[in-house]
Amino acid sequence: MARNTPTGPPPPPPVQKLRLRYTKRGRLRFTSHRDIARAFERALRRAQVPMAYSAGFSPHPKISWVGAAPTGVASEAEYVEISVAERVDLDRLRAALDESLPAGIDITEVVEAPVGSSLPDRIEASAWSILLPGVPLDAALQAVNAFLTSESVVVERLMKDGKRQMDARAAVVAMSASATDGDRSCATLDVVVRHVTPAVRPDDVLSGLRIVADLAPPMPPQATRLAQGPLTESGEVGDPLAPDRLSADGPTRAAADLEQEAAGAPS
């Protein structure tokens, strides 16, 4: 057997690319991104999704991940792209895959990706909701005010290659605090954070609040990503799949226009 050529025919080419929005809810927030990736690959097989594979000695299903919420953080808006070797019905795929995934990783939407469009290019910012058990609203409001009025808030995070510093303030587009379900003894933070490198995570924002206002939650905070996508001019996070849905409805419109529209540009 020759060494550098796998025997057998090459795998069939992709015929359809799909974008999936999924959640990471409840206890499943403790999964790491690698855990999710493995669970996804197995669920795709159980659901008999006709995946397209890469060629070579170690064929891999064609899956591309778009960002990923950190371990311990919940999300209502995660995205992944998959390519299939035979065309599938979007609703049937959504239902079958959702059924095969653990409860908590729920597929909330599937759209077909138009040729040549890029999902990662549409992801500019995330909207986070951070529940702060044991933190009164007044303390939270004070901390938010101190944070927003600071020019920069440098925080440190321990990474694999040592400690890194980043400006949490510069990445924050908007931040507000409110009472959780009307309970003023438990604040919820709403934050819009721009995606920068290195990434500023909810943890880093909380470190920032500790630095500027000595805010130290007595119980572990619970962060949930509510949305990620293009940043509108008014500082909100748009829907990154909107251009794909539009293109399915009206295939005559140019993809570039749609991208602009999603980004909130005046048409």
Binding site: S32, R34, D35, A39, P50, P61, D89
Partner: protein, 641 residues
């Protein structure tokens, strides 16, 4: 009494611990049954980290066998890492199951599966975290029955003080019979003593408290005798016959967390009669019982459908020895062609047949390295251990593998085998060099590699080497260094040979625990009190902690490890019957010393090891002559309607 989930109290501790997902449960194919509608409740523990314990087949099988029964509930628990254990103690959260997050203390039985003795300190840690007294004598009716199973249960004497019972041999039928005994005992409202007595009479269950050990003045055991008239003198192991009737796990657990084996496994036979004299597993699981070709095919299909795994492992102690392995490999490779499903077959055979098989197995999927296990460095030593393969055979086989396209092979050996000399070990280097030279010659490239992987030999109970002197760790380390220098001394091949080994100290502790008696119990307890746990992990293991504890307990480690035993000595496990005749084991030990090999009873007449007549069993092997039919495949069930 309702038992509530501990999860709300555990959850706040999880954000700051390593890999929190391992404590969350919710694996595909796991169950949480209603507590109050069950009357017998088992907590099953694998006493190591979740990533090691989750894929354990024994735990998975018993979990499913028990949960299939109406009125019976089984949940799993694993060792928690020190970071979470510390937080649990501070917050008053006890040892929990990952299924229902119920307190282990609330179950009827805590069954612990010991693949290795190095899990003993983890058992004590779990008992303590669970709020269960460490010593069996301090427990009352409100505590679970603490039960050991697995290979280490064939000599549970070192942990006898901590155990209520140990079950010997195959667990599938045993757990069901024990469940029936426990159910009746609860109905009758009998006390703990009576419950244990009923278990001891049920067969296959050893209750240490019903046996006393008497010692000779020189420290050897005089005898082990029942201290009451109604328990058996010897406890016989359990043996499941007809594996096709026990196709477990049917619904293998699929974790979210990453574990050491990311594949689905099918046990293609149980037992082994190759007769490698060092191998406890091969000795205590006799006779050979094969799963049939069609039984294997059905299990693979059901398991893949239930899990979505892309790799299937065909497991056993020597998988290439299945009487229809060729048809199994070809049948499965045909069935799953074009589905990106790969097969793996751990095999230790060193012959050309193995290469053909490996070709078939890797046809559909990824081609991993090939492993060969000559075990002993010299031909003389391989006669001692009864692993009959000549150096020429090995070099020819590995050369064939290189010629067939493999570029990486692994050679597995042991150091510290009985009668071993420095010269025996140095022959390993010579073998590795010959392999590389032959590989370069047949492939015409220098791009061939082999890895020499060394394990330290530890003499085990119920083997012909149970009388042997274990090699001291200083000599082990010296031989390992000699071998490394020998491999490095030839500069033309040194870079192509990888060398992996562990130092000799952990083997001495394993040896103490393997062949120890009840006097070793206090050492284990002291080690745990001094902070010892996760002894199978080099970053947690401390040899000094073990030696200090042994000294404190007045236990002479060398007496238990490096001392050779005589024929007449009463061994701590003599009252536990693995089926093997002690006289046969002794004669096989004498044959080993005389460098006499012995063939496999699958192919020659019975050589009277004792198991089949003693246990009323027989070898069960094929061929069945059947073939695997292609599967009916629905093409793209998600296609556009």
């Amino acid at each position: 009494m309702p038992v509530e989930s501990l999860f709300p109290r555990l959850e706040p501790l999880l954000p700051t611990v390593q890999k929190p997902i391992q404590y969350v449960g919710g694996e595909l194919n796991s169950h949480v049954k209603d507590w109050d509608s069950c009357d017998v409740r088992w907590a099953i523990m694998y006493p190591d980290a979740y990533e090691v314990g989750l894929p354990n087949q024994g735990v998975m099988i018993l979990y499913e066998v028990l949960n299939e029964q109406p009125g019976v509930l089984a949940e799993r628990t694993y060792s928690v890492w020190p970071d979470l254990a510390e937080k649990m103690r501070a917050a008053g959260v006890p040892q929990f199951t990952v299924d229902g997050h119920r307190p282990v203390r609330a179950f009827d039985v805590l069954g612990i599966s010991f693949s290795t003795e190095l899990g003993y300190t983890n058992m004590l840690e779990a008992l303590d975290l669970a709020g269960i007294p460490l010593h069996a004598k301090d427990r009352d009716e409100s505590h679970p029955i603490v039960l050991a199973g697995g290979h280490a249960a064939f000599n549970p004497e070192p942990i006898a003080d901590f155990l209520d019972a140990a079950v010997l041999g195959d667990g599938e039928q045993a757990v069901l019979e024990m469940t029936a005994v426990l159910r009746q005992a609860k109905l009758d409202g009998v006390d703990r003593e009576e419950t244990l007595l009923r278990l001891a009479r049920a067969g296959g269950v050893y209750v240490p408290r019903f046996y006393d050990t008497e010692y000779l003045p020189d420290g050897r055991i005089a005898r082990v005798v029942p201290n009451r008239p109604d328990v058996p003198f010897r406890v016989h192991k359990r043996t499941v016959m007809d594996l096709d009737e026990w196709p477990y796990p049917k619904q293998p657990l699929v974790p979210l967390a990453e574990t050491v084996h990311e594949r689905m496994s099918v046990e293609i036979f149980r037992g082994c009669t190759r007769g490698c004299r060092f191998c406890q597993a091969g000795m205590i699981t006799r006779p050979v019982r094969e799963r049939s070709l069609t039984g294997i095919g059905d299990m693979v299909k059901a398991g893949l459908d239930a899990t979505g795994y892309e790799e299937v492992g065909l497991l056993s102690l020597s998988s290439a020895d299945h009487s229809e392995i060729g048809a199994v490999a070809k049948g499965l490779a045909d069935r799953y062609e074009g589905t990106q499903t790969s097969l793996s077959l751990p095999s230790t055979r060193v012959d050309a047949f193995n290469i053909d098989l490996a070709q078939e197995i890797s046809r559909n999927g990824r081609r991993s390295g090939l492993t060969f296990a000559p075990e002993g460095g010299s031909e003389r030593l391989r006669k001692v251990i009864n692993k009959m393969v000549s150096k020429d055979d090995l070099v020819n086989t590995v050369t064939t593998a290189y010629g067939a396209g493999w570029r990486q092979v692994k050679l597995y050996f042991m150091v510290g085998l009985p009668t071993e000399t420095d010269e025996d070990v140095l022959e390993i280097a010579e073998m590795a060099r010959d392999v590389i030279r032959a590989g370069r010659s047949i492939t015409g490239t220098r791009d061939v590699r082999c890895t020499v992987s060394i394990g330290g030999f530890v003499p085990k109970p119920h083997t012909p080497f149970q009388w042997a002197s274990q090699l001291d760790h200083e000599t082990t380390d010296r031989r390992l260094k000699l071998l490394r220098d020998a491999i490095n001394s030839d500069r033309s091949t040194a870079k192509a040979i990888g060398y992996r080994y562990h130092d000799g100290k952990p083997g001495i502790v394993e040896g103490l625990l393997s062949r120890g008696d009840r006097r070793v119990g206090p050492v284990i307890e002291q080690v745990w009190r001094d902070g010892g746990k996760f002894d199978g992990w080099s970053e947690h293991f401390s040899y000094d902690r073990w030696m200090t504890a042994a000294e404190k307990a007045g236990v002479d480690v060398a007496w238990y490890t490096t001392r050779e035993r005589e024929e007449s000595e009463v061994l701590p496990w003599d009252h536990l019957d693995s089926g093997l005749d002690k006289e046969w084991l002794w004669s096989d030990w004498q044959d080993a010393l005389a460098e006499q090999d012995l063939d496999d009873c699958r192919w020659i007449p019975c050589f009277d090891c004792g198991v089949c007549p003693q246990m009323g069993t027989d070898i069960q092997i094929g061929p069945t002559g059947k073939t695997l039919l292609p599967l009916t495949v629905v093409k793209n069930p998600l296609g556009v309607a």
